[in-house]
């Protein structure tokens, strides 16, 4: 696609066709089945497939985000209108009284989707359920960005038979190596369990959000008149439920366990990588860290010494170098007594080759 000037026209033409089909369906006898796909979402997908290859990387990633959220927005609107259209006597110009029934049906569909997993509910509800995957989708993106291993690599690790294998002690010359891999597998399984616990935490929250949405709607004294307002209300309910749940001690424990488990896997992998590098006579991460620590300590000592030398020079009246101690013109409050520098912190490194 080379002519960006036709994008809006092509896009609008596509929309017009879908809109005509959609209103045509709405005008037909209400006994007719509603379309099984969300025409807006389908139109969005179709258009994006055509346009995205030409988009620059920054624009493509950004627009993909907007597309995903737009689909959630359209899905809510589509779910609502589908149920509205299914009301007896409904059509264009439907009276306000059927709106609540349509919303209730939409909320029931959403609840069905959340409680029965991805198999329950219709397509729109499943997409809304995917909305609640945002928190752990964000976590998986983080894991992918901070390691060579994809974020969901450990997600479905089979552990039914692994426990048996991991309990077998190592024998012979490769005993240490085997123990390392066993430890890596154990940490991987712990991470998988921590991630599953994290996902389970969120699995119940979608249902709570639907209930909160229902309570919110019942408490309103002004009607909601647009899909955007409906969507904003849904987001508000989700955030409310989320905020209440993630400030509990249980969530703090679960998220802490997830992060610690991920770090434990990385730690074991880092040790094994270091061993491989050492075997190839290449510098290792632990060696570099030791050097960094020593260098930083040396720099501190050098700067302190330089400070003292400059002060001595000034006392001797040589006037060389920048002035480290200032000529004070204001009364100085008594300084806190200096204590002896603390012993340098030595964090015990995990024992290698175990």
């Amino acid at each position: 696609m080379t002519d960006t000037g036709t994008f809006p026209n092509d896009w609008l033409e596509l929309q017009r066709k879908y809109w005509e089909n959609w209103t045509d369906l709405s005008r037909k006898a209400t006994g007719a089945a509603a379309p099984t796909t969300n025409p807006w979402e389908a139109a969005l997908d179709h258009w994006w497939k055509a346009v995205s290859p030409a988009a620059p990387d920054l624009g493509r990633d950004f627009m993909t985000k907007i597309m995903d959220q737009g689909k959630a927005f359209f899905a809510l609107a589509d779910g609502y209108t589908k149920n509205l259209g299914a009301m007896p006597g409904a059509g264009l110009g439907t009276g306000a009284g059927d709106g609540w029934s349509a919303l209730s049906r939409t909320l029931e569909d959403m609840q069905k989707a959340f409680t029965s997993g991805l198999q329950g509910g219709d397509e729109g509800s499943r997409r809304l359920m995917a909305f609640w995957e945002l928190p752990y989708d964000n976590w998986q993106r983080l894991v992918s960005s901070t390691s060579l291993v994809p974020g969901d690599a450990l997600r479905n690790m089979p552990h039914k038979h692994l426990n048996q294998a991991l309990s077998a002690p190592g024998l012979g010359y490769t005993r240490e190596e085997q123990a390392q891999y066993q430890d890596l597998m154990r940490r991987g399984m712990e991470y998988q369990q921590a991630f599953q616990e994290y996902m389970q935490f969120f699995s119940g929250l979608g249902t709570k959000a639907v209930g909160r949405m229902r309570d919110f709607m019942e408490a309103q004294d002004k009607p909601i008149e647009s899909a955007r307002a409906l969507y904003d209300s849904w987001v508000g309910c989700c955030e409310q439920v989320y905020a209440e749940e993630v400030k509990t001690a249980d969530y703090a424990r679960i998220s802490g366990r997830l992060i610690n488990a991920q770090m434990a896997v990385k730690q074991r992998m880092a040790i094994m990588v270091d061993e491989a590098l050492g075997a190839m006579n290449m510098p290792t991460r632990s060696e570099l860290r030791t050097l960094q620590d020593r260098l930083q300590e040396t720099r501190r000592e050098y700067k302190a010494l330089r400070h003292e030398v400059e002060a001595l020079k000034r006392q001797l009246g040589n006037g060389g170098g920048p002035r480290p101690a200032l000529v004070r013109t204001t009364a100085t409050p008594p300084a806190a007594p200096k204590k002896a520098p603390p012993a340098r912190k030595v964090t015990p490194k995990p024992a290698p080759s175990k």
Binding site: F74, L134, A252, G256
Partner: protein, 355 residues
């Protein structure tokens, strides 16, 4: 009372309008070009390792006050938020009130900086920047403005070097890290920080991004992009949005040892309140902060709840303590139009009365 009235024909119009904005916005997005940051002219006057100390150019017709102002920003984000665009610049506003403004840009730490500690940052980098400014201006004290974590650093510095700080301004600065509404603090209590730092060395900026986005995932990773469609039609608004987007995700890695000490001493042990924080062998005590203090906090701040900042009151040795509550969020306090009109002039006036 019936609460919903969405007509199918209106709904179709709404969807069509949304789709049209999306289509037209694609062009503006593809033509957005490079996203620049920082609008006020400045000069790099001091460098050390990855740190750069900038001095901002005083506007024509303004005579700078004799006591210079040093801005200490947090390590977790980039400081160009204070000067993000022409009509949303805290730096510009401060310059207009006559402040001679300096700012520390911490740069992007890499693994070579892993061993930097809080002592290196506070008694090292900040102190040497203060010395440089004092030398350049022939003064022995400066005004200090600390933002967020930079405010915590500024409190530590003011406690350890009370002779060098004439006035202290803290903006959205956490003091009590264990207020009930502090989600970040609640989440970090069960994290093994030693394991994280020993494993990763520096803490990746991506981890911090994930943490901040997790505070409001549906709004910040979902709804924001639906609402964004409304501004896509205006190229200027698209650029403004993309600048914010750049800043939000432009999180530097954190030097490992500094991160270890900061999280353990402040988030986990609540050091300002409970005591026991030592930096460079000296104890940090808020009672040693004796200079005048202006403490500014945001009432809708979900990162540093207002109570976390308000806890500073009554805990310092200052006899001149002032609070300013801003009706906005953690970011809005720098970039909103209201903040430009209310917060920055207030800081300038408060400093001018005491400099």
């Amino acid at each position: 009372m019936f609460t919903i009235d969405i007509r199918p024909d209106k709904l179709s119009e709404e969807m069509l309008d949304y789709s049209r904005k999306l289509g037209q916005g694609m062009e503006n997005l593809m033509n957005a070009g490079n996203i620049d940051t920082g609008v006020t002219p400045r000069e790099a006057v001091y460098r050390e390792d990855k740190l750069v100390l900038y001095r901002y150019q005083t506007p024509a017709g303004v005579t700078p006050k004799p006591v210079p102002l040093l801005i200490v920003y947090a390590l977790v984000n980039r400081p160009y938020m204070t000067d993000i665009q022409e009509n949303r610049s805290t730096i510009k506003g401060l310059l207009a009130t006559g402040q001679d403004v300096y700012l520390i840009d911490w740069g992007y730490p890499d693994q070579a900086d892993r061993a930097l500690t809080l002592d290196d940052y506070i008694n090292g980098y900040i102190d040497r920047c203060v010395d440089h400014i004092c030398e350049a201006h022939g003064v022995d004290q400066i005004n200090l403005l600390g933002i967020c974590q930079g405010g915590a650093f500024s409190l530590c510095y003011s406690s350890l070097h009370p002779d060098k700080v004439k006035n202290l301004v803290t903006m959205v600065t956490p003091v009590d890290f264990k207020t009930p509404d502090n989600l970040l603090s609640a989440w970090v209590q069960h994290v093994d920080i030693d394991l994280a730092v020993d494993t990763m060395g520096n803490i990746p900026g991506e981890l911090l991004n994930w943490t901040f986005l997790s505070l409001k995932p549906f709004s910040l990773t979902g709804q924001k992009y639906v609402n964004m469609v409304d501004v896509l039609g205006d190229p200027e608004q698209v650029k403004n949005f993309l600048r914010m987007e750049k800043w939000i995700f432009d999180s530097p890695d954190q030097a490992g040892e500094t991160f270890r000490q900061f999280i353990k001493d402040f988030y986990q042990r609540n050091g300002f309140i409970e005591g026991g924080v030592e930096i460079g062998g000296q104890e940090v005590a808020l009672k040693n902060v004796t200079c005048p203090i202006l403490n500014i906090y945001a009432l809708q701040d979900h990162l540093v709840p207002p109570d976390a900042s308000r806890a500073l009151k009554g805990r310092t040795g200052s006899k001149d303590y002032t609070e300013l509550a801003f009706p906005g969020g953690h970011i809005g306090i720098y970039v909103s139009g209201k903040a430009q009109k209310e917060v920055t002039p207030a800081i300038g006036n408060w400093l001018n009365e005491r400099s």
